[in-house]
Symmetry: C2
Subunit: 140 residues, 2 copies
DNA sequence: GGTTTTTTATTTGACAATCAAGATAAATTG
DNA sequence: CAATTTATCTTGATTGTCAAATAAAAAACC
């Protein structure tokens, strides 16, 4: 007996966060995009349609920063500024086919990571983790 | 009945990661440090003694980047380059008293976040989450 | 309907974060 | 002791970031 006691929850959350962070960093580098660019692609991919304002809000950056970032992403052919028919001040940002491809590929990597991390979990443990994380995430 | 089914594990991990990320961003801003600087302080605080090489490795950045970062942190009075008696090529980076203070304060915020997120968890759920996260983190 | 205010996005100027490549100095190896 | 490897720093280029100023359209207000 005597399983070494696990670190406290705070420590575990920090550790999980750090490890996901460096994993993300590694896999993103292989994609040719910067972390910030991939994050932008993920945000647009997840929400499908976003105005600059909303997108900046979701990413926690200013619209000024986002303007130049979307400029580059457009040059790279990953996103597109569509005219917003309801409001001529704003655009709707959407993924191009190539952007969508990056998004899908990246999401697949995330799925593989989850697989890997929970490879030794039985079905019951997976459900338990799922429910606990759901409860956790809801309290932010 | 009929609890709406929670998102899959991948989605939950991404969501958790994103939310910790933006929480971190917010609280760090209030501290006057940049996210990268706080991360550096956390790394040094956690490991106590680090050479540049090791520190760069842990942070996933090059030593070139770290040199200028530690320069600034030293100017800000948060860390100190100590001579390494075993190897005159390298330094040992340590926190100053002020750096330690920042580290402690930030860690306290992490504890408060954990408290908050698990406020509605009973003791059994907390232990279950702890054990599952421990198992998860070990598989990176 | 016309004026004022608010909202949306861009531009600009400054600085921090990052890398790759090259330089320097110390340690290690043969 | 010479050659190689290692640890750090420097430099030049690019990206990420903000705050403040600008411009244009929409909304609010009489």
């Amino acid at each position: 007996m005597n399983h070494s006691t696990p670190p406290d929850l705070t420590q575990l959350l920090i550790e999980l966060y750090d490890k996901i962070s460096s994993w993300e960093h590694t896999v993103v580098k292989d994609s040719g995009l910067s972390p910030a660019q991939m994050h932008a692609v993920e945000i647009v991919g997840h929400h499908q349609q976003l105005r600059m304002k909303e997108m900046a809000e979701l990413m926690g950056i200013t619209t000024g920063t986002l303007t130049v970032m979307v400029d580059r992403l457009e040059t790279l052919g990953l996103v597109h500024r569509q005219a917003n028919p309801n409001d001529r001040r704003s655009y709707v940002i959407v993924l191009t086919a190539q952007g969508q491809h990056h998004f899908n590929a990246h999401h697949k990597l995330h799925d593989m990571l989850t697989e890997e991390l929970t490879a030794s979990f039985d079905a019951q443990e997976k459900v338990a983790l799922q429910q606990l994380l759901f409860k956790l995430v809801r309290h932010f």
